[in-house]
Each structure stands twice: as C-alpha cells, then as structure tokens.
Amino acid sequence: MATSNGIKIAIVGGGLAGLAAAMKIAEAGHEVDLLSVVPVKRSHSVCAQGGINGAVNTKGEGDSPWKHFDDTVYGGDFLANQPPVKAMCEMAPAIIYLFDRMGVPFSRTTEGLLDFRRFGGTLHHRTAFAGASTGQQLLYALDEQVRRYEVQGKVKKYEGWEMMSLIMDDHQVCRGLVAMDLKTLELRAFKADAVIMATGGPGLIFGKSTNSMVCTGSAVSACYQQGARYANGEFIQVHPTSIPGEDKLRLMSESARGEGGRVWVPRAKGDVRSPGSIPEQERWYFLEEKYPAYGNLVPRDIATREIFQVCLDGFGIGGQNQVYLDLTHIPAETLDRKLGAILEIYEMFVGDDPRHVPMRIFPGVHYSMGGLWVDFDQRTNIPGLLAAGECDYSIHGANRLGANSLVSCVYGGFVAAPAAIEYAKNVERNGADGSRLYEQELQRQQEINDTLVKQSGTENQYLIHDEMGKWMTDNVTVVRYNDRLQQTDQKLLELIERYRHISINDSNLWATMALPHARQLWNMLQLARVITLGALNRNESRGAHYKPDFPNRDDENFLKTTIAEYSGEGPVFSYEAVDIGLIPPRKRDYSKGKAKETTAAAAAQPGAKQVPTDDLQQKPRDISGPAIWDQNKEKVRDVDHGQAETRREQGKSIEDAGGKSDKL
C-alpha cells in the first residue's frame, strides 16, 4: 500500500504499453503494482512480426517524423486527433534507439547500423525489425528492464490476476481496482494513486481473430461500465489474409502476395475438387479480374472486402469462408529463399505444404483502432484513470498502418507514466473513509461471482460466446449494412438476456477457467454493443468502416470521434470534434492515385516486396516541417513541444515526469 508520501501506481496489463509505463514510473523512483492475466512476458505483444516504425532516415530517402506523421494521419483517414500522432512520430526514432540500447537484436546494415524495411502505407524504409518476430524482442527488452526494477523492489508483479473493476470514490475519482487471483478466485482491492489501463485489444469479441486469447477487451469494458468513455469503437481493422483455424485465425503476411501469390476460388459454387485438379479456366482470380492494374496487390482494405464479398456470395471454397492464396506456381527454391519463415508457420499449423498445395485464407479481425477515450496525456475522463496501447483510441484514427501499433504502445506508455505521476503528486489522498470504498467494491464483485456460481440455468457460456463471435464477424466487420447492424444489436440483447441463465459448468472452483470466462463474456457483450451501435450510427465509409449504402467519406457529418458512455442500460453516444489543425483533411482517392501507386509498386520491386496501399497516393509534396531529424534534433524538439500543447489545458511535457528525460 502507498505510504503517506510514496506514490503507488497500478498498471493493468504487461504488454508493450504496460511495461513501457512500468519502466518509466520505476525509473522515476515510484512504486508500481503490475497486474496481468498471463505472465507479462507472455503478453499478446509477442505476436507482432513485422516491425516498429520510426523515421530514422538512414537510407538517404529524406524521411522525417513529419512524413511519418502525415502517413499515419492519412492512413487513418483523418479521424485521429493530430497533436498526439505528431508527438508519437517525433518520439519514434528515439524509441527505436532506446530499444537498440536495451539490446534488441535489430537487423543491421553492412555498416552495423540499424536496418529498416518498407511497410504498407509509406514510401520510406521506416520499419526497424528483429528477424521475423519484432514484437517478441521488443516485449522481452522491456520485460528485462522491468525485471531489473522488480529485483530492486520498485515493481511488484501480480501475474495470474485479472482486473475486475475500478474502485471509484463518491466523486467519481478512481482510487484503485479490484482484481481476482485466477488460482484461488480470491478478490483483492489494489489501492493506487492512479491506475493505467494497458490491456490490449478486444479481438475475442469476434470469436476468432488474430489476437491472443487474453485479448477480450473485458477490462476496458469494465471501465466503460463504470463511467469511462469509449471512443471510435466501430473502427475494427480486418486483415485480408489470415489462416482460418479451429481455435484462432493466424496471420499470413502480406509478403506472400508481394512475392506473387495469387488469390482465387473455383468458378463453380461448392466445387469440391482438390485445388490441383481444377483447370486454370475454371478458377476465378477475382482480384486480378476486378483490378487488372494491381491484381493481388490491391490495398489491404480492398482485398479484405473483395474476399469477404466473394465468400458472402457463396463462392468460398466448398461454400466455406475460405479462398485460395496460391504460391504453387512459384519454384519451391524461390519460395524457401524469400518466404521460408512464413511458409513454415502455415505448415506448422495447417499441416499442408504451401509450396505444393494452395493455402486457404480468409480475412481476420486483427486490431481495434477504437478504445478508451484519452486526452493528449493519455488520461481518460475518469480522474486517476489513464490508458495506453491498443486499449486506447488515440493514434490510429479510422485505420492503422502496419508497424505503427508497437510504436504507439510504447509512446502511450511513456506519456501515461509521467502523467500518472503528475496526477498522483497532486491528488488528495482519501483518508480513513477510504477503506469503506474498497470494502464496498470488493463486496459488489464477490456478489457477482457468487450469483454466477449459484446460477443453474440451461444456457452454455461458451455457446453464447460462439454465437456472439459469429454475429459480430458476419455483420460488424468488413461490410456493414444498417439493417444487419440493427439485427446484430437485437441479437446481442438476446444474448445478454440468455447470459442470465448460464450455469458455470465447473464444480471445482480452484483455478477454474469457467468463472473468469463468464465474467469476461458479460463485458464482451457490453462492448460488442458499443462497436455495433457505433457502426450503425456512422452513416459513411471511412478507413476500416465500410457501408455500401454510404460509400463515401462524409467529413461534413462524420469527421468526429464517436464517444460511447454507459447508461446502465447500454451505450449512449455523443460526438467530439477531431483536432485537424496540423494537416487539413484530403480525400483518399483511389482512382486518381493510380499513376502514383504504380510507381510505388514498381519501386518496391527489388527488396522485400510490399503491398502498395491506397495510403501511398496523394503524398504531400513538400510540407514544411521539421524535415531533418538527425542533424536538427534540438531544434525539432523545441518546436514540437510548443506545438503539441494545443487542446485542453495540456501543458505537461513528457520531460517533466522523470525529471531527467530529454525526449523519451
């Protein structure tokens, strides 16, 4: 417990964002309680393969944080508030250098410098990478530093604990949280001067996704139900090529198409012949047919939509939600050389050899751009509650660019940490009265558990989860229609009703998986409504949100942030203006950008080929801004901070927190 003058901050989640915050707070000399469902080293962040973005500009391409900023804002279809995006892009090179110093084995150039690769949505080599598993190395580097502070007694880890709720005082100020020990099911109150949420994405709401199994969004939903605002929930990124599995969807990298992979389905619906025995003229290469110029290399969102539609129309392989991604026409040696690691993943999990059998793929829910509403210091609307990482909404607008998430997680953690410290320094501690709050919340949570355990209805929690996932995937992902969104919300209401009749099918409560799942399921159902109704209300198409009935972006009516607040019944929506003061919105015009895109695609030929995206066109020719990062560091810094402090009574720059940091 916090002593009279010591500051204690509770961090929920030990992925990149949570660990980044923990390291900063411990470094500043304060105490951290770090809670995580899984041991932090096993967090979802390990899954990231592609890399981390930062405009270090080592390739003589004239890259700059400003260009990174522009790419991110443009890629996000102008829905992100621009100041924090700019601040992130400015911090990004320093973040990469820091990881370099912490020992991440980033791939190198012949000169021994950091190597960078190209990724979707940019023309620059801006993505630092460690082999084919960058997220793993970044997470481990932070895990190692936090372990160092753990040894020093600054960080106390609670691994195998699941956060259940916030502890709120009578003035709606967050005073800590209640978490459950997943072994004993003991509930405990964690008193804290501030709480940072860093719990990652909500992929499991869609049943199967590319996310890890702890990515339920349950914790942020609990915050939402206690008064935290949830922003832009309807923006869910769906990756075009994932490997459907019985248990989850696994990502198949875009480079498979970059190296010549062809997407097709049998021309005849329900054709059950093996792919090899289907003659060429009976195959439908629908991307090549519909987009002769780009073929299989159309932008991510378009590829996703087309594959989805083809299956919706019944052309999926054997009537299922699957299409072929075919590499078999490419010599096996070439494939091994260029795509070895990726093909091994497919082989490992599917058991087929993609060198000889076409892969079966389908779009998979991948990332949530939406999340807890935060201000430019990562503070939610609840005093004492902050958020960082995939669980906050701040950086990616309507669509996230590849390799931008890892950097946003670290940035979020690095900003949240000093902001939490600053808050904790000034907050009035609640006195003797405090213990009542903790007791009350503990009791409330215990009652929910007890009710669930006693309940003996006929409904099965896992089947309800399956049903929710299916409805959400079918109707609230790639292509959205208002009538289906409405029906989905009706369905969710029905499932919420049926939830009251589930029975926990485990009579042994020791280390049971059933009770935690039941708790998560309730929260997922509530958040599913936020996503669905947010989509219903947004009558336009922007970024990942696509409505055939409203095919265009509508800045006049919808250049605004969706905000959901829990009313006790369900979400109540309001909208907030987007801060677009730095880069005026321009249209993401696919047809007009073609000439430019072709150039981009051609330019991408030699090295690792990349999938050009629509983000490639309409680059600003020359936007004045801090262009030369390296030589001009000091100057850039000064400029940044002046400009970053726009909205609200921001003000506290990052440096103040630790006292010693100049940039990070």
């Binding site: 899984v38 390990v46 250098y97 110093r101 248990d247 058991g351 087929d352 020791w510 630790g658």
Partner: protein, 262 residues
Amino acid sequence: MSAHASNASETARRTPPRTVEIKIQRRENPDAPAYWETFEIPYRPNLNIISCLMEIQKNPVTKEGKKTTPPVWNMNCLEQVCGICTMVINGKVRQSCSALIDQLEQPVTLEPMSKFPNIRDLRVDRSRMFDYLKRVHAWIEIDGSYDLGPGPRMNQDDVAERYAYSRCMTCGCCLEACPQYEGDQYIGPQAIAQVRYQNMHPTGKMTRDERLEAIMGEDGITNCGNAQNCVKVCPMSIPLTKAIYEENRETIIYGLFGWLKR
C-alpha cells in the same frame, strides 16, 4: 519435418478417423492425486490440441458418458511464441497450439509438465524460470531510458547469433527434458542461454562477471550432464548446447583469472 508432416496428414486424409480420443491426466488441485479421464470428440480436419480442449470444455463428458469438470490448461497466443500452452503430448514436451491431431498417434495423451509445481490438470507454475532470469541479471544495464542516441554498432553476424537466443519464450521444454533438472538443483539451459544472450551484447559484456558468478554456484552450469536433450526439444531451435559450452568456458576462465581483476 515437412516431409514427415505432409505424409502424416496425407494418411489422415485418406482415412479420416471419425473421432479423436484424448486421455488427459487430471488433478483437482496441487495436493490432490492425479487421475486419468478419456474424452472423445468428433473428428474435423486441422484440429490442434487446443481446439480439442476447447471442444471438451464446452461440454465436459467423458468417453464413458460421465459428466465431469472441464479440464484446465493455459493458452494465449496460439502461435507458438508465448510459450504458455506447453504440456506433455504423447510423452513429448511441446506446445499444444502447434500439436496437430492429424500428426499424432491416437489416443492422444496429455499430461502436465512434471518438473514444475502443478496447479490443476494441465496447468503448472513456471514462475521459477522467471526467478532464474532475475538471478542471472538477464538484462542490459542501461544508464536510463531517456534519449541517449543509438546503441553500439554491431556486426549482422553477431546480431544473428544473438537473435537466436532472443527467441527463448521461457516455455520450459528444455528443463522438462533435462535429466539433471529436478527441483532447484540446477539452474538449467534456459537461464544459461540468456546469460550468453546478454553477455554477447557490447553493453551487456560490461557486466558479464555478475552473470558468470550467478551460474557458478552449486546449482550452476557444472551440473550439466551433457545429455543434450534440451537442444532436441527446444521449439525455438536455440543452440542451447553451444550456449552451455561457451558459458562454461567463460566461467572457467573467470574462475581462474577473475581474481586478477579485483
């Protein structure tokens, strides 16, 4: 692996079994005795152990038709990179997410790892592996996390070697398979490989001695019996025997000449 894998799945495709039979070693809590239960689920192509467990979890009834409690296990990434779902499958320690039914002999037996305290059923407590990482100072002693510019330049070949060690996901397969690893008598290959990983780094090298001392104690590196099981079971193909060899050499030299430095 590839030839073998596709052969096995070829066979399975020719005569797909109608059901999958899974025998699970169960335990109600750490103090309870272990017992076995057998489950049968309908066969589908591309099942892995996790999806079978998920299926059983929905409606836990044994093959004999007896209603029972759902088995408990650990899972997270399901891409063989978080390490959490490790268990002993048909006698071999490995991750259950990448264990495909089409490539396994039936009935499939699932047991928890035996070298770690059991929590319940297939779930074990591997926290001591993280404790070893504390002991060997498995981190780079950076001056601070503020902006101090780039790290040291490095040769890509050295980076590639370090990268191999950086992939350790603390799954514990190497410890489970090591005949010397029992209780707390030997720190084991995982931690030694992490010593190698940190000691190879130009900055890490500066605090090399602390790490060497940490593996020179009674439960240290000399307990390795050179059975070489670790390197065979490591799912990340980490050159564990090489790490042990190199660190053993370093500790010997340090043992002989280290005092000169003092």
